[in-house]
Amino acid sequence: MIDDRDIYPIDSPLIAELASELKAKDVMTYNVITLYPQQKVIQAKEIMRLKKISGIPIVDNENRIEGIISIDDIIHYLEIRDLEAAISKYMTRKVVTVLEDQSIIEVLKQFKRNKYGRFPVVDKDRVLKGIITPGDILVRLLQILENHMVQQQTERTVRKVKGFENDVNIDESKAFVLNFVIEGGDVSQAGEASSNLKRTLADTGRYSPIFLRKVAVVSYEAEVNVVIHAYRGTMTVLVTPDFVKIIIVDEGPGICDIDLALEPGWSTASEHVRELGFGAGMGLYNMKRWSDELMIESIPGEGTTVTAIININ
């Protein structure tokens, strides 16, 4: 049985929201075992034993609630050894019911006020529709919470941090692609891919120092993020006459809160890499500052894709 401490207070905003939106009819058990007042208590006792239930609503011919018989009533009946008695003699007549459209939060308050283990759920004419226990509510809330967490985990967040307002047409005949593999976890190799990229571009002699610096900072920070946080990743660089587009795709933990990750100084890096001078929380911030366009896509638990565009002129 659930006591008051388990139900109150409700701290989670999600649970509080659910509890006010959910109605008794969304949670209650529909197939209720009922008995008539003229049936015998011994029948009630046997049903309760066999079905492992602790209370049975008693209804009239139109399924309107007349009373309820609970374990307490049965104990009373057993003490008296009134074997042939009808249910009407022992049932509780002052039944606390809840309406099928009542919110779960109100139902929970009812459970707090009255120390009953269950409430018959009725419509406005007191016709029995179902039965509800604190356990039903808990199970349903847990179900919703679980679904919510699963959804949250697989939800892709796309954040256009800077630019990416228009699609860009690329003349493929004038573009070329460079591919780099980044191993996650191997801090000693951090900077390999971005160094190679910068060297390749610098060797053409076509680019200004400031452009090369932008490419260096953006690709370095993206690479370090993969090395520090992810299991593995790739960096694909599309070089066109007007801009370079750097796409870093990783398999990793993803980013739960992209806005927070963009805050300068925010870092989830380990103590070990911080001692090496990484994890200053400047990575994404530097990328934002030095790129002309930046987009971050992430699925928590799966990985992150960062796309940056740096204009040549």
């Binding site: 971005s194 160094s195 610096r213 900072v217 090496l276 200053a280 400047m282 530097n286 500052r289």
Partner: protein, 110 residues
């Protein structure tokens, strides 16, 4: 001002001599790599207490003129090897970052 001129007046131990005729355009002090990536400029000499191999990628990407490892921090062997491969000048000093900055300034690095 060239590195070769600087080492005449500033007591630096040359660990890797890749090209001491490089021009020094100024200096930067920092131990957080991202901070250095964001702030240090082409041709700067970088003063840091990091002596591990990850500093080489930063220096190479920024085209720094050299790295001074301060406060008597021992340079890692794999870092020195990488510096040779990448053509990065490496110096060490017992002096701390502030003292080094003062010495460089007196030597003419502004």
């Amino acid at each position: 001002m060239r590195l070769s001129e600087i080492i005449e007046s500033v007591p630096l131990k040359v660990e890797v001599d890749s090209d001491l005729e490089r021009e020094v355009t100024g200096g930067y002090i920092g131990d957080l790599l991202s901070q250095v990536m964001a702030q240090a400029k082409n041709g700067n000499i970088w003063i840091t207490i990091q002596g591990h191999q990850n500093i080489i990628a930063v220096a190479a990407l920024l085209n720094l003129s050299g790295i001074i490892i301060a406060s008597g921090v021992a340079p890692a062997q794999n870092m020195l090897e990488k510096a040779r491969e990448e053509g990065i000048n490496i110096f060490t000093s017992k002096a701390n970052s502030y003292q080094l900055a003062c010495q460089l300034h007196s030597a003419g690095v502004k």
